[in-house]
Symmetry: C2
Subunit: 413 residues, 2 copies
């Protein structure tokens, strides 16, 4: 059931200067004039947050997190008031509200707070008066009235949470790309913008390196069934709709090809085949804030194991130090580090019911003389670690093999 | 009875940049280490407010007042968080609070709100935990949770109101001058900083052109008996204490000499001697936002009146237009405009009980061949309109005649 509410979120680059803010106001105005009830979420203007952070560190290199939140939340507060003024200039009745004023209640984990609940009575009051309500993204308030911020992906998270609380028809995420693509269009020239994608595919794409949105916001959308659209702030084109499922989905097998060329591979050989070895390795790494991306373990009949895993290339120096120091206590014999690797992945919810996708992927790589070093699969993605210099070629060939340039024609909607 | 609470207010120039903020933190730290409970009120950093105003006008030349308050209140919020960080760097436990968080409740007159009441429970909670509490000046919140600002003299007003609500021992107003002087030290080289001055004298000095503080804050101090001290942010000297009365006040006659060289005089002659004429003239001016400073009316036996008054020189062009247009309907015969005038005033609470002060003033001017064009008196001040080029000389001679260079020795304290 539609309640005619739409949430629109504009990021920092969309709010870069006065002219861009006026442009955002025009976009909102055109939605409002279609008779929608509009809630807008905005980020801080372009460089505001960076400048405030610099000020803080000049004063105290280890600033209190509570005071950082007090400081940084002003960035969005500036944006909402300016946007309200821009809407007034277009004769649109609009009102700005901080996270505290709305009642975006969070826990007290300053700089990375989690939303506990959102009050909708104030929002509804103003919407029912015909006002556009502009809400400061990225911020909330804890139970002691301290201002908090939500950390990474903050404004997207605010938008999704508001859309969920208001049961909005749609949440539009305006950004500097015009949607979600089958692959990186700077590399794959015939990559196409997807009309539709599911939450799970979007999450896999995000975790595999597609930079459109932080997965946290997508997870909230998924949990609360918020239909959202990723679209351009500047062009007036349709974006990509993200939702739990679509019609004719069975025709669809693979949705996207993603790549990651910022990884390194570590292999430890001849580990004793007993419980707790893997746990020991990955505890050491996680204690040192090193994230592991992909893990492959193979055991051999002679009761020793090899284990290979990938990490971000930027963590390699640290990881090497830790592993070299602990290799004996782990029980490994040799360790190999490889910086010349990358990952190519295919993502698609249709994989679940279509056998043979893996075969097509491996054949395509083999036909192009690309050797696979590691394979990792989930229900809706297959990733292969290969030589880094061959990652782009692999992506192009896979994009073609799965006919992704034709994807929107095939189905969906 | 002392409760050991002190309120310290630092203005925008004291908070101009990172180094100045660190300096403010050191001043607070030294008070705190004397065992005081310290509440600090700060303004926005130097040019922050001006820059925000410019942004707003680029977007909407007639911005909504509610949204201006939302926008401008961020300036103080930035200041409080940075100052808290600077105090943390000195190992002082400090917490920042916005006007809304403290509970500085105001009416809804955006951009010039009046404080209705201040909640002290949150302030006391943090003070009792040994924290320095840093409050954003200039801002409050109305009953619907809208952010308001207090308009001119805003942060001083916040400081005085907090001092009143907390019954603080003292409110220190740190500024870029080191106290209240007997006269403008740039003109009168032997002007001295006053150790003490009463609210009423301070109010007269403010309204007569001394730029130390906005009279609104002084009025609050007077109403609630807040003892305050005007002192330098940069020098470690004693300032001027302002209070309702002091010991040995009877020895004191004149406290200060003030001047105003930014006025113009208007004289309308031969007005009919009937009620309502003056009201008509001054209504016309006030409808056009022109403030009248001094008014002198003389009636003659033949039933016509002359009326002379002074206005700010910057309003003269507008005033001329209005009066020329309405001279006939007012019933006046001729009007004269004089831009070459200024005012010299003496202020002192002792005048009430000391006859002969006026005589000394007039004789001093006459001895120096300075012609008096208008005279206006109140209980504690006498003002004379004279030729503008003679204003500084007049001030020097009066300063000497009343021996103001010796004032602190004479009495007080």
């Amino acid at each position: 059931m539609s309640n005619n509410i739409i949430v629109q979120k504009f990021g920092g680059s969309s709010m870069g200067d006065e002219e861009k803010i006026k442009n955002v106001a025009r976009r909102i105005s055109s939605t409002y004039k279609q008779g929608k009830k509009v809630v807008v979420v905005v980020s801080a203007m372009g460089k505001t947050t960076d400048n405030l952070v610099k000020l803080a560190y000049n004063i105290n290199p280890t600033p209190s997190k509570r005071e950082m939140d007090m400081l940084l939340s002003t960035g969005e507060q500036i944006s909402i008031s300016l946007l309200a003024m821009a809407l007034h200039k277009l004769n649109i009745d609009a009102i700005s509200l901080t996270g505290l004023q709305v009642g975006i209640n969070t826990d007290s984990a300053h700089t990375k707070a989690k939303i506990l609940d959102i009050k909708t009575n104030i929002l509804r009051k103003y919407l029912n008066k015909g006002k556009v309500v502009i809400v400061a993204g990225f911020q909330g308030v804890d139970k002691n009235m301290n201002i908090t911020t939500l950390g990474r992906g903050g404004s997207d998270t605010t938008a999704m949470a508001l859309a969920a609380a208001l049961k909005a028809d749609l949440c539009e995420i305006y950004t500097d790309v015009d949607g979600v693509y089958t692959s990186d269009p700077r590399v794959i020239t015939d990559a196409v913008k997807l009309d539709y994608i599911t939450y799970d595919e979007m999450l896999e794409m995000a975790s595999l390196g597609a930079k459109v949105m932080h997965s946290r916001a997508v997870e909230i959308a998924k949990r609360f069934n918020v239909k959202f659209e990723v679209k351009s702030s500047f062009k007036k084109t349709k974006g990509t709709i993200v939702y739990k499922e679509f019609k004719n989905m069975e025709n669809l097998v693979v949705t996207g090809v993603t790549t990651n060329k910022n990884e390194a591979k570590i292999t430890i050989t001849d580990l004793p085949d007993k419980p707790g070895i893997a746990a020991k390795i990955f505890k050491l790494l996680s204690d040192n804030n090193i994230n592991v991306n992909m893990i492959v373990q193979s055991s051999s009949p002679n009761k020793t194991n090899d284990i290979s895993f990938t990490i971000d290339a930027s963590d390699l120096t640290d990881a090497k130090k830790i592993i070299d120091k602990n290799l004996k206590s782990i029980g490994g014999k040799n360790v190999y580090y490889d910086k010349n690797i990358g990952t190519v992945s295919i993502v698609g919810i249709g994989m679940r019911s279509h056998p043979g996708i893996a075969k097509t992927m491996f054949e395509t790589l083999s036909k192009n003389k690309i050797n696979i070093q590691m394979i990792s699969t989930s229900e809706i993605k297959i990733s292969c670690v290969i030589e880094r210099t061959k990652v782009d070629t692999a992506a192009k060939k896979l994009h073609k093999a799965f006919q992704l340039h034709n994807i929107n024609k095939k189905t969906r909607g």
